[in-house]
């Protein structure tokens, strides 16, 4: 009876461990995929901003830091940084395009 109970307990613990490992693996894979998508969007936005000379100073640094954070498994930090880089690129692009061919003398010079 005691031996049977021992085997049942070992089976429960092993199953639990396997399930939880799989679950964590699924969550980690999902975060990884989500971050990879965001990173790719941020890099595309960087390329677009750069094409009109509108990239801001810290974008490259944020992207590097985001990749490092993801490599360390800190997806919350990685996502935050990649999102910041993407937003800055979008704003930089809008800034550059809005002035293309329009930047001229300020009012006090006219």
């Amino acid at each position: 009876m005691g031996v049977l109970l021992k085997y049942i307990l070992i089976s429960i613990v092993t199953t639990g461990m396997l399930l939880s490992t799989g679950l964590f693996a699924d969550v980690s894979a999902a975060e990884d995929a989500e971050f990879a998508t965001l990173l790719s969007e941020a890099k595309a936005a960087q390329k677009k901003a750069n094409s009109v000379g509108g990239e801001w100073r810290d974008v490259g640094k944020f992207l590097k830091q985001a990749e490092q954070a993801a490599a360390d498994g800190d997806f919350e930090k990685a996502t935050k940084l990649a999102q910041k880089a993407k937003t800055q690129c979008e704003l930089g692009y809008e800034q550059a395009v809005s002035q293309k061919g329009k930047a001229g003398h300020p009012s006090y010079l006219q």
Binding site: N50, G53, G54, E55, W56, R57, D58, V59, G60, Q88, L91, G92, Q95, A96, Q99, G101, A103, G104, H105, P106, Y108, L109, Q110
Partner: protein
């Protein structure tokens, strides 16, 4: 008929107040220089060559003390040695610069053959490459030695950037430089003019902002912050970073066109490089 008359009068009145879009580079120079003459009425025009030290007495006092033992002198001496040392093929810088080392007043210049603005730094590297030498880096290092020597030998000449009328590409390069100058960029959304026109002479934290006219005359510059002599394009890089914009490559088209416009603004101001700045 009455409406047409009113419209005509309105257009005429407005035209008195609006700078025409087709203003020539010469009109622009007058406009910019007049602006600074009015902004700093007690400053002799040639004093603009001294930048912030023309507009702030206390900083000037410190600067004059530094100039008693100019920190850029060793760079000038090394540059003279570079000038006098033959390349491996037996030729030297003198073979490229027909006017001798005092040629800074000829740059930046428009090259019809190359279809682009040639700065002195670029001309130096073109000379080196044409003679089988490696080009020098554009922001730090030995390029500052030869630039410092050539600037020193050019002292006393006047800034005289020419926009040749026989090549519309030259005017286009000037206009691109002008657009760069007045374009807001970076996270701080500043253009060059925000600091060096309407805020010139004012404090930015512990620094005083220099007027745009005269800013190009003293390069290369020994900056205390750098602890060495650096090029104008290194400074452009720093300015762009300060407004949190990604800088452009030194001697790339953007900064060469900017230098063309920026230097043209100081036409008539004496060359006084190399110089020292905070």
């Amino acid at each position: 008929m009455k409406n047409a008359l009113i419209a005509t009068v309105l257009v005429l009145v407005c035209s008195l107040f609006v700078q025409p879009l087709s203003a020539s580079p010469e009109d622009n120079v007058r406009l910019y220089q007049d602006y600074f003459k009015k902004r700093f009425p007690n400053i002799d025009f040639q004093e603009f060559a001294n930048g912030v030290y023309a507009v702030n007495a206390q900083l000037r006092e410190n600067w004059e003390a530094i100039e008693e033992f100019p920190p850029y002198e060793p760079f000038v001496e090394r540059g003279e040695s570079m000038w006098n040392t033959a390349f491996a093929n037996g030729k030297s810088y003198a073979d490229c610069f027909q006017n001798g080392p005092g040629s800074k007043h000829l740059y930046p210049q428009w090259s019809k053959e190359q279809g682009k603005v040639i700065t002195l730094a670029l001309a130096i590297n073109q000379c080196r490459e044409a003679n089988g030498e490696k080009p020098l880096k554009y922001k730090k290092g030995p390029i500052n030695d030869i630039l410092a020597y050539m600037a020193y030998e050019s002292r006393g000449q006047l800034t005289n950037v020419v926009i040749p009328a026989d090549d519309p590409r030259a005017l286009e390069a000037y206009k691109q430089g002008k657009e760069f100058y007045f374009t807001r960029r970076g996270q701080l959304n500043f253009s060059c003019s925000h600091c060096h026109f309407s805020s010139s002479g004012m404090n930015l934290r512990s620094d005083v902002l220099s007027p745009a006219v005269g800013q190009t005359t003293g390069w290369p510059v020994y900056r205390s912050k750098w602890g060495t002599v650096g090029t104008l394009h290194r400074r452009y890089t720093g300015c762009n970073k300060q407004v949190r914009a990604k800088p452009f490559p030194a001697q790339g088209e953007e900064y060469r066109n900017l230098e063309y416009f920026h230097t043209h603004m100081s036409n008539g101001v004496v060359l006084n490089g190399p110089s020292s700045r905070k």
